[in-house]
């Protein structure tokens, strides 16, 4: 269960001699690409309609909707396809489409 870690990462599962003390977490979850969880639908932003209000950024459970240069951009590496951004966008600028 490893993502693309750097060459010098700490192995998982660890040998007991190397396991970081006390069970402290030792990798960021950014290594887990939850975009693979999507079940066939993904959100697509219509830039013409998008007003850059930021609602999708506030309401995405995974922080996968961000504003870049005033427009919503979806990070498909992490987007789980829940559809909340599409449902809540005040401008109706996000549509759930088949992948």
């Amino acid at each position: 269960m490893s993502g693309a870690s750097g060459q010098e990462g700490i192995p998982f599962p660890p040998k007991w001699q190397e396991a970081p003390m006390g069970g402290v977490a030792y990798k960021p979850s950014t290594l887990l690409h939850t975009g693979t969880w999507r079940l066939g639908l993904k959100p697509v932003v219509d830039e013409e309609k998008c007003t850059g209000c930021g609602t999708c950024h506030l309401l995405c459970p995974d922080g996968a909707a961000k504003l870049v240069d005033g427009k919503a951009v979806i990070d498909y590496t992490y987007c789980k396809g829940c559809g909340i951004c599409s449902e809540e966008c005040p401008a109706n600028a996000i549509e759930m489409v088949p992948e």
Binding site: A4, W16, P20, M21, G23, A25, Y26, K27
Partner: protein, 416 residues
């Protein structure tokens, strides 16, 4: 160079409170329970008089007491609590968490029987019930030792090879409420001995620029000013839990040496040396009594009296029950022809008392195995006298002659 000390009349509880005052941990979180109450009360007085800068958290239960100590220790602070009996039983799940998170918490346990019936007097069922929890357990013979161990405990717990919490056990009422002469060190000597709390470093991966991660080394504590925040108390699947437990066991093994080292260093400072075991007149003993806690003080009087009558009786008081000093015990009992193991606790349905089981395991593969007898005694504060110990020794001498133990497990002092 032994430092000059004052002698004060202190009960066991007061001695513990006094030691902790001198250590001045950051946090004391405790809930009262007889016979530990004097520790908490005395310490509260120190706080109210401005003698310590410790934050005293009057928690609403023992479970919260140890939980608060876990939080404090995780933040890199020194944390202390004390309890007994039902209180220890209530915090049972947190014991395992504290030791598994490798937090150097120090806790005084004033040994008291477990309900039901509710009983406020001494036996070892409370701490024996916690023997698997990964805590170091030191059993004290008298108030002096309680004072001394409460100072050494920090150095043992915080040692980089150990990083395990420590229980300092003193017998309820027998020690906790009995006034004894206690030599106390000067404040500066205690502060110097315990030093500043240290925190080991851990290696973790953090996101690196351009994706991927890099490894950094940071102190193992919750530090909101650190650029590398840590997450403690994580969830493990079956793919890595076992490794953390193995690590803990290694720390316990390392503690065997550390307890002796710290005991030696403390001896140089105070004139009182401590180790894993405290043998008494064991060198040429034909028979030996083995046990924990204050009753061994009583036993030593019996040993003296029997020696003066010509019997070669010896005593082995085990100070460190966890980690269990199997090798030292085997060495100490070499040549002894019969051993009585005193258990101030019952392990219901087991083949014997817990200390006996551990001694039996110790000797199982040894070439020379002395006959071992088990006495379950003193439950719920049932007194044990010098005469009782003399009777045990006489029985041992009989067994030493025949080499046979008819009844390995006996109850000593129960009516009926």
């Amino acid at each position: 160079m032994v430092v000059e000390q004052r002698v004060i009349g202190l009960t066991g509880d007061e001695a513990v409170a006094f030691a902790i005052k001198q250590v001045e941990p950051h946090v004391v979180a405790a809930y009262p329970i007889t016979p530990q109450t004097i520790i908490v009360e005395r310490f509260s007085e120190y706080v109210a008089d401005g003698l310590v800068r410790t934050e005293f958290v009057a928690v609403e239960s023992e479970h919260s007491a140890l939980s608060a100590c876990v939080g404090a220790a995780a933040a890199g602070a020194r944390a202390f609590t004390a309890t007994a009996s039902q209180g220890l039983a209530l915090m049972w799940e947190i014991l395992y968490i504290a030791s598994s998170l490798r937090l150097p918490i120090v806790m005084a346990i004033v040994n008291r029987a477990l309900s039901a019936p509710i009983n406020i007097h001494c036996d070892h069922s409370d701490t024996m019930g916690a023997r698997d929890s990964g805590w170091i357990q030191l059993y004290c013979e008298n108030s002096q030792e309680a004072y001394d161990s409460c100072i050494q405990a920090w150095r043992i717990a915080e040692h980089p090879d150990v990083r395990l919490p420590v229980m300092v056990c003193l017998d309820g009422f027998v020690l906790s409420h009995t006034l004894e002469n206690v030599s106390v060190l000067p404040d500066e000597a205690v502060k110097k001995f315990v030093g500043e709390p240290s925190v080991p470093k851990v290696r973790v991966e953090v996101p690196a620029n351009g994706g991927g991660t890099r490894v950094v080394e940071v102190p193992y504590k919750l530090d909101p000013w650190s650029p590398v925040p840590l997450s403690m108390g994580t969830f493990a699947m079956y793919d890595c839990y076992f490794e953390y437990k193995r690590q803990q066991e290694e720390a316990m093994k390392a503690a065997l040496k550390v307890i002796e080292e710290v005991g030696r260093e403390y001896g140089e400072l105070s004139g009182r040396y401590y180790g894993l075991i405290h043998p008494y007149k064991l060198e040429d003993a034909e028979v030996a009594i083995v046990g924990l806690g204050s009753a061994m003080g009583t036993a030593s009087v019996a040993v003296d009296e029997l020696r003066s009558e010509g019997y070669k009786v010896g005593l082995l008081r085990i100070r460190s029950f966890r980690p269990f000093p199997a090798e030292k015990i085997k060495e100490a009992l070499e040549g002894v022809k019969a051993v009585a193991v005193m258990d101030r606790v019952l392990s219901f349905g087991g083949p014997s008392g817990p200390l006996y089981s551990e001694l039996a395991a110790t000797f199982y593969h040894a070439d020379e195995k002395p006959p071992l007898m088990n006495y379950i005694y003193g439950l719920g504060g049932r007194d044990i006298s010098v005469d009782d110990f003399k009777a045990v020794a006489k029985e041992l001498l009989r067994v030493a002659e025949t080499g046979k133990v008819e009844e390995p497990v006996k109850f000593l002092g129960v009516w009926g």
